[in-house]
Amino acid sequence: MTTETAPTGPSAKPAQSHELTFAGALKANMRDYGLLLALVLIMLFFQYFTNGVLFKPVNLTNIILQNSYIIVMALGMLLVIVAGHIDLSVGSVSGFIGALAAMLMVGWRFPPELAFLANPIIAGAICLVAGAAIGAAQGYIIAYHKVPAFIVTLAGMLIFKGLSLAVLSGKSVGPFPAEFQLLSAGFIPDVIGPITTPFIAENGNPVVLHTTTMVIAILAIVGMVFFSIRTRARRKARGYDVEPFSLFVIKNVVITALVLFFAYMLASYRGLPNVLVVMGVLIAGFVFLTKRLTFGRRIYALGGNLKAAALSGVKTERTTFYIFAIMGALAALAGMIYAARLNSATPKAGQGLELDVIAAVFIGGASALGGVGQVAGAVIGAFIMGVMNNGMSIMGVNIDWQQMIKGVVLLAAVFFDLYNKNRSA
């Protein structure tokens, strides 16, 4: 090494943008594509072995409704796990909040001046705040008093399991007001009005499409393509390498086709479920949070190296505190979706859900050591579990076998992930 390598200022000549090679770009994103591919393969597998039931419009809608609360909680759990923590209390917290919602709207008899508390919207807001407060309380102990999250949330799990029993006096409480049920059972209104297609469905009638659903899907596709073209152009203009045009086109075409396919399926049943709108907004929000917000960046930094993050000015305690508060609010939302779906709150609601949520995040590629994990991965991980539940149930696989197979899939997913990482390192 010679002294000629001493640094100089930034070179004056502007950098030239290059297209990466097709194989190179594909390899760089292998992990993301691989997970999506796994989901598609699993779906095709069950499509075959359920004799085509899996892809029926009503079943696809069901898969979304069945897994919505898992996905909602997986978003928060992703932040928790990336930060290097765990939250075992989310199942019990969601159950407790479901119970609280039921008591507010149905169970408790309020005096007239407090009757407004039973209003579904006000009750829902109270539940969200209560969930956030529960998360914040646990987060406070974890962040500022350094009690391990595993222990704090294990205690939380027991406490809130007991609390939901106490609040419900051991009974199921329901049914909920119709407005509240819409959260899980409702579909967006078809403001444009249905159209009849020339296609013929299995029952011999022509397929009638929920037009508003299709319009929303098309708008979403246009928006997505517009932003990806703009991002590519900007990167190119600034002299950065971009993926090859062919891959860019293929990627957009595939995503467009997938979105259109699922939109068509949903539209030929009852349209877009309300809960999918909620999920879509949350997923988009969390992708933005993790990829673009300084808050998100700090979560990855503190999960990757807590000491280095602290010495870089990251307020590690405050950040951890917020993460658990967010997790609590999402558990509350999930609890309400779950209760609205069952149309009653039961003392057993939510129990064991935390394990499904954690499994989804790990199948989605998050590291148990913290610092690694993506929102898209967690969502796909949740769907992999969800599709397997659904497919195996349709096939009539016994619950004992279902459990074992899911366990094996979780282990295999994480094992392959680590195997690939070690090989590439």
């Binding site: 390598t5 001493a6 640094p7 600034r238 300084t294 930094a301 602290a310 010495l311």
Partner: protein, 510 residues
Amino acid sequence: MSKTILEMRSITKTFPGVKALSDVNLDVREGEIHAICGENGAGKSTLMKVLSGVYPAGSYDGQIVYQGEEQHFKSIRDSEHKGIVIIHQELALVPLLSIAENIFLGNEQARNGVIDWDETRDGARKLLSMVGLNEDPDTLVTNIGVGKQQLVEIAKALSKQVKLLILDEPTASLSEKDSQALLELLLEFKKQGITSIIISHKLNEISRVADRVTVIRDGRTIETMDTNQITEDRIITSMVGRSLEDRYPSRDANVGEVVFEVRNWNVFHPQHRERQVIRDVSINIRKGEVVGIAGLMGSGRTEFAMSIFGKAYGQKISGEVHLNGQKVDTSTVDKAIRNGIAYATEDRKTYGLNLIDHIKHNITLANLFGVSKAGVIDDLAELDAANDYRKKTNIRSSSVYQVTGNLSGGNQQKVVLSKWLFANPDVLILDEPTRGIDVGAKYEIYTIINQLAAQGKAILVISSEMPELLGITDRLYVMNEGRIVGEMPTSEASQEKIMRSIVRAEGKAS
């Protein structure tokens, strides 16, 4: 003259990119106390790790002849089996186990896996009396002081039938009284025929107990002195006598008025409330000036810097920090950064980098405000910034998307520097900025330091390599045991002078 118990011949040990030991020879005679001296990083600890099998046979070149036979130690167990026991600077005791349990850890007094507690306690009591420690063997190690813990370590060594005892900086964290007791013990062992190798910076101690002294410098043996040749002066000259050559870029200092000032800084140990780590330290740095803090390991330099930087170390901190004539709040890391102070750590892997994330995210972490609006990061602005600093500091990587854990030490250090340059501080504290990196990368980092000074930044360099401090700074403070014990313009400084102020301070303390 007694016979030779240990001979290390032409030991050469290389780490990726660094030659830590080259052709080192050491011979130790039976029943003597042999001291090894050298600057930090000279290779003393590496040599002892080669000897004890921490670096297994085959990972170095050369021969180890012990008790007349050539040895190929594959692990510490092998060397302990032959009676070679090393006691490290950081004690390897389990705090929440008892003294007796610690002494026999890994060597339990057991029959078929069932511990015989009576034998354990009796054995421990016997060993404790040999080292002159009057404590109940059931006392937890955490409840006794550092000096006594050191004695427990030695008792543990004795339990392994030690023939050659190696002590790495045994008195570094001991009080004067405990140090004296320890040295007496070594002399006592000598009478019993136990050979000792002692690594120490404290020259007064060495000249008191050592029969012979070997000096190591830059991974080479410089000389071995016999009893009648040992003087502190001669040891110092051997330790530091190295030419500066052209290892440092020329420096054209343009120094302005005082920018940064720390007044009457006091810090206490984070765990031991009564132990004062930093005592009444006051320093200042001028605009465009590079100021160094010299001192031995454990002198409190890092603790001082980290306590300034958002109270990242210690408790009961008192004192004032002034920047551009104004008193500033540095009570949290975030506030310190916002007030224009940056601290680049000595331990980049533990405190400096997120090793599982890529260069870009590491560079911008300390100044996310610089690439975001209302909490939203501007992707391309971030990419521009990362690429800009990658170029400025000459980080060799495939792109800014390379994971920092896969970079070489020198390039990792440049990422740490880039991070703090991007935070655009007025004062930059660099703690061991070139530790563990090769000569070429060192030169590049010195050049960056010069450029920053030329831009008018105030720079504080903490380094254990005295030639480095002499080569790149304008002014020097010497720190010892948490105090500033000397200050001099670099033009008037020399390694001898620095060493002398440290040694003089040690003398005063005793």
